[in-house]
Amino acid sequence: MSSERVIHAEGVTKVYQMGEVEVPALRGVDIDLLEGELMVLLGASGSGKSTLLNILGGLDIPTAGRVLYRDWELTEAEDAELTSYRRQHVGFVFQFYNLIPSLTAAENVALVTEIADDPLDPKDALDLVGLKERVDHFPAQLSGGEQQRVAIARAVAKQPDVLMCDEPTGALDFRTGKLVLEVLERVNRELGTTTAVITHNVPIASMADRVVTLADGRIATITHNDTKVSPSEITW
């Protein structure tokens, strides 16, 4: 595996202004996302993992510190540049699938392929997540797991450089959750997409190349898994 840095963050600090109270979410985080790796970010609720992911994904800007995508300084980017960064390089998967209810599965994917430079065919993307047969269904006609897989297909269809997943199994039952993790693992393996997965579910960490644990806005530990466990073998 190459160890080239896709994203480099140093001293990232984020303070939320909640009325008169300042709530620090991140207190100086240094982290790299390496080409092709599957990284799991572990942490309890409120540890700052979502904030970190949002900053790395160009959805939010840090109060202090720097974030670079390859040689591109994101911390100084305008809104239009961040939009372009997300559009070209980042795929997102959220706990709540955030599909557009008025569009079918294929059309939800097409939303992205229409604006990306070198996209997959929407049907191929849906095939990749095992939903070849459901392309013409509207979100209301799909189960939660299916909806999440459409969301993954939508995220990977643009062939992003980075896939950011925030609690992708959080709203799913065990069996469906595993199915979704298998899809993520497969995307990472077959397409070589650098993937960051946020979870508070410790067993999931065993499928990662690298596990970063956050606590109270700081990185607590970083561990490397010498042997990755297939999602199908994970139980929780």
Binding site: N54, D60, S84, F96, I100, E107, A140
Partner: protein, 787 residues
């Protein structure tokens, strides 16, 4: 506690509250301004009539001894009579080539106020008894002419010029609307009322011991028709022209017509606004309430009953309406003031000022409130009905299907974002339709407010451009031999002169009558065309019988073949029965036409003319007018272009003001509908839009998704609005039926274009307002929440 929630709701909804309040304000302002103006004019008139003892019946005759007035006073039902002298005179101002006309009206020589039709002194003083040359004149004429008390006034009395002295200016209820007999529009600077001592007037017109004009006050409960009949019988031997009630008194007749039109506008237009406001409140509240569904459920679960919750939302509605009412009343009073100001130019009443009566204000507010409450009740009830447990759950996810259009297969033409727009529209076609309906109403109001100018331009074109082509019309104090036409034709610069016989008459059929003009024309007349606006044909004045204006025939209940009774109100004053030979639908006036020879024969006069049309080289205008002024027998001259200019100025001003205000209000409605729809759409779809932003859609791209739906509503509204506007214009024309002129619902393409442009601009402004909100979409916050 609920009230605190209410306050906070209002704060977050400030944009929507403001736009809806403005629509309510537009409705109320409109109602208050128009109704208030109508009430003000109506009440001021009634009060004025009462205070200044305006007569009930008016009669004129050639000359009757004063003892005849006593016989009339003794009639059943008559309370008081006021016999006087009233004559039309010519005013040869040295500095004006066109002689003005004036009406001399007698006032008691002892300096007492007239017992009826009193004069209200405005400037200067009352004439001093014994000073025969002192007169008062109509205040507006004095103002228009720059005449002040102390100035001289030249008058041709019985053929000789006399210099009178103006000592005061005044107003009178019989001249609220002062117009020279035979003129098409009032000309404040060209028609004077001259109040002169009776003795002086009688001497001047050789009317000693006699009168030719009578004002009658009725006893309460007396029958006007019976008194008129009796007066007509008594005055017949003295050349009575037939008495009239207030409804036919010239000033009051015009006032009635204007007020009738105003009342019509004041009823129809404001209610359209209020209906649209109710509709808007319905849309916005039902969505606001849907967004608050979980909160309502929580409140219910906590034990608040339906009434308390219903009341809570009604308070919100009431607040919005009251804010709108406050703004609307303020604006309405201001506009009403401007309207009344506009009317004072033509309606001469002392102290005419806009007055807002409590009942008008209350009705305006109450109707808006009722409309708003009804509009929002439906939405409130639908939520209250739900059991709390069900209401606490989010509403079931929206179901979407492929649209019919897509199934036909045009889908390939649309991108995915366009498809989102399309499905959003087809999922709630009723909402799209209703919104388009609201916007189309705004457009229609603009057309209704503006088309009057088009219709009037058309009227001018028909009546004063197509049917008339002369440069100048000349009237004479008495019929002239036809050779006067040749004489005028030989004036320098004159290309052509044509002589007509114009005679003031009363057309009568049974109890119905109208005072108007009969025109005698020979076939060779080129400067007047008897143009029928229904058939588009040019007609000829008949050699047998009379060609009657069709509106006049309708008023009198006459058909072709019937006889019309014609009372001649000039010279020998005979009464004739003339068969109706044909009807002509003209844009203006209520006249009849005969061949000039037939008319001369009917009147048992020689080959005379009394009205000459002239066509001249404009370079010689000054000279022509100067020669006419010095010519004996010439009474007045009327320039056609000046007439058109005055008609344009007067109607243009009124319609212009009306149109401007309606446009402003209509734009408020359009913005209100579009903006509120956009806001609600934004709040309901912020999740989708945020998702798109995360996926890398730019702000512009998501704006297109949200605003595309609005664009469709606006585009749909345009043809609908053009249609409704046309129907509204036709409706207004069908119900407003003034006797003086017949406007057609002509709408110019500029009016259509203007209304469309304002609608599009309003849509654009709302879109820009919402776009700002769109730019501050909280991406993370939205996505972190469950649907």
């Amino acid at each position: 506690m609920l009230d605190r929630k209410l306050l906070r709701n209002l704060r977050t909804l400030v944009g929507q509250v403001v736009t809806i309040a403005l629509v309510v304000a537009a409705g109320i302002a409109n109602y208050v301004a128009l109704q208030g103006t109508w009430h003000t004019l109506n009440e001021s008139r009634d009060q004025y009539y009462e205070q200044e003892r305006f007569g009930d019946v008016f009669a004129a005759c050639t000359r009757a001894p004063l003892s005849v007035a006593d016989r009339i006073e003794a009639l059943d039902g008559v309370a008081r009579v006021y016999p006087r002298v009233s004559e039309i005179v010519s005013l040869p101002f040295d500095d004006d080539p066109e002689p003005s006309a004036g009406q001399v009206v007698g006032i008691p020589s002892d300096g007492d106020p007239p017992p009826l039709n009193d004069v209200v002194l405005q400037r200067g003083r009352w004439p001093e008894p014994g000073r025969a040359d002192e007169v008062m004149i109509l205040d507006n004429f004095a103002t228009a002419r720059g005449i002040a008390p102390g100035d001289p006034l030249p008058v041709i009395l019985n053929g000789s010029r006399r210099e009178l002295r103006v000592v005061g200016t005044g107003l009178s209820p019989e001249f609220i609307f002062a117009m020279e007999p035979g003129a098409a529009v009032p000309e404040p600077d060209a028609f004077a009322i001259i109040w002169m001592f009776e003795d002086a007037a009688r001497a001047g017109f050789q009317m000693e011991g006699a009168f030719d004009d009578l004002v009658i006050q009725l006893q309460p409960g007396a029958s006007e028709a019976q008194v008129i009949d009796a007066v007509d019988r008594i005055l017949e031997p003295y050349g009575g022209f037939g008495a009239v009630g207030r409804d036919q008194q010239m000033s009051n007749y015009f006032l009635d017509e204007e007020l009738g039109q105003l009342e019509q506008m004041a009823t129809v237009v404001p209610f359209i606004f209020l209906a649209v406001a109710a509709f808007l409140l319905n849309i916005v509240l039902s969505r606001l309430i849907r967004l608050q569904r979980p909160q309502i459920a929580a409140l219910k679960a906590l034990g608040y009953d339906d009434r308390a919750i219903g009341l809570h939302f009604l308070k919100l509605v009431t607040f919005v309406v009251l804010v709108g009412a406050a703004i609307g009343l303020g604006i309405g009073v201001w506009i009403g003031g401007a309207f009344v100001e506009l009317y004072t130019q033509y309606f001469h009443m002392p102290d005419l000022r806009f007055r807002l009566t409590l009942d008008v204000a209350l009705v305006g507010v109450a109707v808006s409130l009722a409309a708003a409450v009804i509009g929002s009740m439906v939405a409130v009830r639908s939520v209250i009905r739900l059991p709390p447990a069900e209401a606490m759950r989010p509403p079931p996810p929206p179901q979407y299907t492929r649209t019919l259009i897509e199934r036909i297969g045009i889908t390939r033409l649309f991108g995915t974002s366009a498809r989102m727009v399309l499905r959003e529209i087809t999922r709630r076609p009723m909402r799209t339709f209703l919104s388009a309906l609201g916007i189309s109403m705004a457009l229609a109001i603009m057309i209704a407010g503006r088309f009057g100018m088009d219709a009037f331009e058309h009227l001018i074109d028909e009546a004063f451009q197509t049917a008339m082509t002369e440069d100048l019309a000349v009237t004479f104090v008495r019929p002239m031999p036809r050779r006067i036409v040749r004489e005028l034709e030989h004036l320098p610069g004159v290309n052509r002169a044509e002589g007509l016989r114009m005679v003031p008459v009363r057309f009568e059929n049974g109890h119905r009558h109208r005072d108007s003009m009969m025109l005698g024309m020979h076939d060779g007349v080129t400067m007047r065309t008897l143009f029928d606006q229904t058939t588009g044909e040019a007609r000829r004045a008949p050699r047998e019988g009379i060609l009657l204006n069709s509106k006049l025939a309708e008023i009198l209940g006459l058909r072709v073949g019937d006889d019309v009774t014609v009372h001649v109100r000039e010279g020998q004053r005979g009464v004739h029965r003339v068969p109706v030979a044909g009807l002509i639908d003209e844009a203006y006036g209520l006249q009849g036409y005969m061949h000039i020879d037939a008319l001369n024969r009917l009147l048992r006069e020689g080959r005379v003319v009394s009205y000459v049309l002239m066509d001249y080289d404009p370079r010689y205008e000054g000279e022509v007018l100067a020669r006419l002024r010095d010519m004996r027998g010439v009474q007045s001259t009327f320039s056609r272009m000046a007439l058109i200019g005055r008609v344009r100025a007067q109607t243009g001003e009124t319609w212009g003001a009306m149109s401007f205000i309606l446009t402003l209000f209509a734009a408020t409605i359009a913005i209100g509908v579009v903006y509120n729809n956009a806001r609600v759409a934004l709040s309901m779809r912020s999740r989708d839009l945020a998702s798109l932003r995360v996926l890398g859609f730019t702000r512009g791209e998501i704006s297109a998704v949200l605003l595309g739906e609005l664009a469709v509503q606006v585009l749909l509204a345009i043809p609908l609005g053009l249609l409704f506007g046309t129907l509204m214009a036709e409706g207004i024309m069908a119900t407003a039926d003034p006797e003086r002129y017949r406007m057609q619902a002509v709408i110019s393409s500029q009016t259509y274009a203007f209304a469309t442009a304002v609608t599009l601009a309003s849509g654009l402004v709302s879109a820009l307002l919402v776009r700002r909100k769109l730019y501050h979409l909280d991406l993370i916050g939205v996505l972190k929440t469950r649907e």
